[in-house]
């Protein structure tokens, strides 16, 4: 059990906590201009080293893992304290790239489903800045049908031997461990034969490659497993109980992607392209301050942006007080993508040809962003799957027909070729 010297008393009010955080941040963390934050390109090595350093400082100062339990190195406080800390830390450089997936998805899932040893080891390590975690879920054979994974884990003696491939893992090259879903029983229906493993990324038997996206980013990776050997201590949850663990990951992911996780610390942008679009400055740059049509377009985007933030708060509290089911995270998920689309479409409309031919004013970056617009409706589960979830698990409509339901996985039809 880890205790820091300055761990707050249980009775400290949110305001007192915020005041203490304010003073500590001023003395210890590098200040930044939140409108022009340092670039944390997840595709580079350096930002990850920097994030680990910053996280270590937070841990030593007693401000790491505000909503994680005390016995695993956190502070065990409510989201009100995390929100207050987020406000206070707005003008400081924070290890924001550790939020997702390390804290909000992976550590949150280990907290839900891991063994005591795994919790003590990994949650403490991520809060200390010693570990970065990733998800190894999607496979080249398909994205939305996660339970249909075909990476295999075969029992040989007292070891598990892994063969297969994973893809779309965020920054796996910079990570220490990955939550990896593999098939351990092929004779039962797809959900019943899966097991989750916690895999050390730098193991012999894993070959890692970068994926280059339309916008040039190389943050995502694919991994090939070639007789990777793991022990029983690598199993998270139960053998053949991997779907339960994966479901917790998906749950945490939907909340995190929309910005609704209490485990995220710091709300700043990851770099210039992540800063909310400043329409007023943009219209000034274009000499269109007085263009009513463009002001109205921009105003509409600002309205939708504000409603997205209000919705996140509304759904968070609705799930807490039971007026909305946990699946309501999918409402945030879809809205996040749709507002992102609206903003990208709006900025493309406002910039006109300056967004597609470089006039030396760097407005072409908005054209570049348009090209990868759909990423926000694909990553973390597609909009279409999220709408199925809303229709079926929130509204209760009958589930979609699935040809593989109740069928042993080895009899299920798979991709041709």
């Amino acid at each position: 059990m880890t205790e820091t010297a300055s761990a707050p008393a249980q009775t400290e009010s949110v305001d007192e906590f915020a005041a203490r955080a304010r003073a500590w941040l001023a003395d210890n963390m590098p200040s930044i201009d939140p409108a022009n934050p340092p670039e944390h390109d997840r595709g580079e090595e350096q930002p990850w080293l920097r994030a680990r350093e910053l996280q270590k400082k937070l841990y030593e100062g007693g401000f790491a893992g505000i909503c994680f339990p005390r016995e695993y190195g956190g502070l065990g406080l409510s989201i009100a304290y995390q929100k207050a800390f987020n406000e206070e830390s707005r003008n400081y450089e924070m290890p924001v790239i550790l939020n997702t997936p390390t804290f909000t998805i992976c550590a949150a899932t280990i907290l839900d489903t891991g063994s005591e040893d795994q919790k003590h080891q990994h949650i403490s390590a991520v809060l200390r800045g010693d570990e970065v975690l990733v998800q190894l879920l999607s496979e080249p054979s398909g994205g939305s049908d996660l339970a249909g994974v075909i990476t295999r884990a075969d029992r040989r003696g007292d070891k598990w031997v892994i063969n297969g491939a994973k893809t779309w893992s965020t920054s796996a090259f910079a990570a220490d461990y990955g939550l990896m879903l593999a098939r351990t029983n092929w004779d039962v229906p797809k959900h019943e034969g899966l097991t989750m493993f916690l895999v050390p990324i730098n193991s012999p038997g894993i070959t890692l490659r970068r994926i280059k996206q339309v916008n040039g980013s190389v943050e995502f990776c694919e991994e090939f497993f070639d007789n990777l050997e793991l022990g029983d201590d690598a199993v998270v949850g139960e053998v053949n109980g991997g779907w339960h663990v994966a479901s917790r990951q998906l749950h945490h992911e939907r909340r995190a992607v929309g910005g609704g996780s209490e485990f995220a610390s710091g709300i700043g942008a990851e770099g210039k392209s992540d800063v909310p679009i400043d329409y007023v400055a943009l219209l000034a740059t274009l000499g269109q301050d007085d263009n009513e049509r463009l002001r109205e377009l921009a105003g509409r985007a600002l309205v939708h942006r504000a409603v997205r933030d209000q919705l996140i708060d509304h759904v968070y509290h609705g799930v807490l007080d039971g007026s909305l089911p946990p699946a309501a995270g999918s409402i945030i998920r879809v809205t996040h993508a749709e507002i992102h689309h609206l903003e990208i479409d709006t900025v493309l409309a406002i910039t006109g040809s300056a967004g597609v031919v470089d006039g030396g004013d760097d407005l072409i970056r908005y054209g570049d962003r348009y090209l990868s617009r759909q990423a926000s409706a694909l990553g973390g589960g597609t909009t279409e799957i999220a709408k199925n979830i809303i229709g079926e698990r929130i509204l209760g409509f009958p589930r979609e027909y699935a040809a593989d339901r109740g069928v042993p996985f080895n009899q299920v039809k798979r991709n041709k070729g």
């Binding site: 105003g299 504000a306 919705l311 409402i331 809303i390 509204l395």
Partner: protein, 376 residues
Amino acid sequence: MTETNPERLLFASTTQSFLEKEAPLSRLRELHQAGISFEADWWRRAAELGWTSLLVPEHLGGGSVSGDGVADLALVAELVGRTVAPGPLHPVSTVLAGLAEAPENHQETIESLVSGEVVGSWAVYEPGKPWSPLDAAVTATRTATGFRIDGVKDRVEAGVDSGVLLVVAQCDGAARQFLVSTDLPGIRVEPQRSIDLVKSYARVHFDGVEVDESAAVGSAEQTPDLIARQSQIAQVLQCAEVVGILDTVLAFTIQWGFDRHSFGRPIGSYQALKHKYADLKIWFESCRATSNAAVAAVAARSPDADLAVSVAKSYVGEHAPGMLQDCVQLHGGIGVTWEHDLHLFLRRTTLYRSMFGTPDEHNLRVYDLTKELEPA
């Protein structure tokens, strides 16, 4: 969010049973048939339940159940939305919102509005002009004993049924408001039909209408703030009522998705329709979230209240009518019949979309407010 305040829960259940008993949709159709907007006695009983006292401080004869009158009033509006009930809740509340801020010389009017004996309305729109509450062509000219009012207002809700109007007029080069009794000489009230079944509006002509000095509401300096507050109340009431409408319509449209079968399946099992339903749920929760945020900002008199209200008014106005049309589509042909109740809800929702500022107008407002907040 789940309501937990016990006083407000009791108030809500009393209001709800009154509305279910005294203002069901069948009653709305009867009133429409008879050409009646609302019954004066019905409104007095609604006032007795406390609907009109919520924005008025206790020393002026008002009071709210929870201590947060704006939130209580928004709750009434939401419940009203469930049956698209008739009545002058919005115009009376809007007038009281102004008078409560500047009650001098108007205590008697406040009392009569709170008791429901008298109906009042805000005369703010002018023929042919969009929503621009401070920009009045109606004039108030100083006389020996007070003011003379000339000009034309329109889109005055419940204007035909109002005993008193709060009139925005230009006076000495600035917007002012005057409380004008509708039985004064020189006033002519012409009814205007709206697309709602019962909500009626009026064009009001002021032809040399003489009022006393005491008719003025607040000072010239105070007036922009009063008008801002009245606008906020009018707009959040619309948003809250539309949330009540959407909640009700979505509930029966979702039920329809389970009950209605085609090709041997409930129609809600088809993915194209399931996704449409999912969109409706997403937009509904968004409407509720932004409406709640606007109510909270107005209740707290937050410096961001204007922004929060315009955000909500734009979003709800942009989405709600289309959501109702989606519900019509999900119902099929029955949805476009007079017999089905959907159009009662569609009418009120469409009316509110365009009154007190269209989504486009509020988008511009949000842009301008955002620009004002930015460092130069």
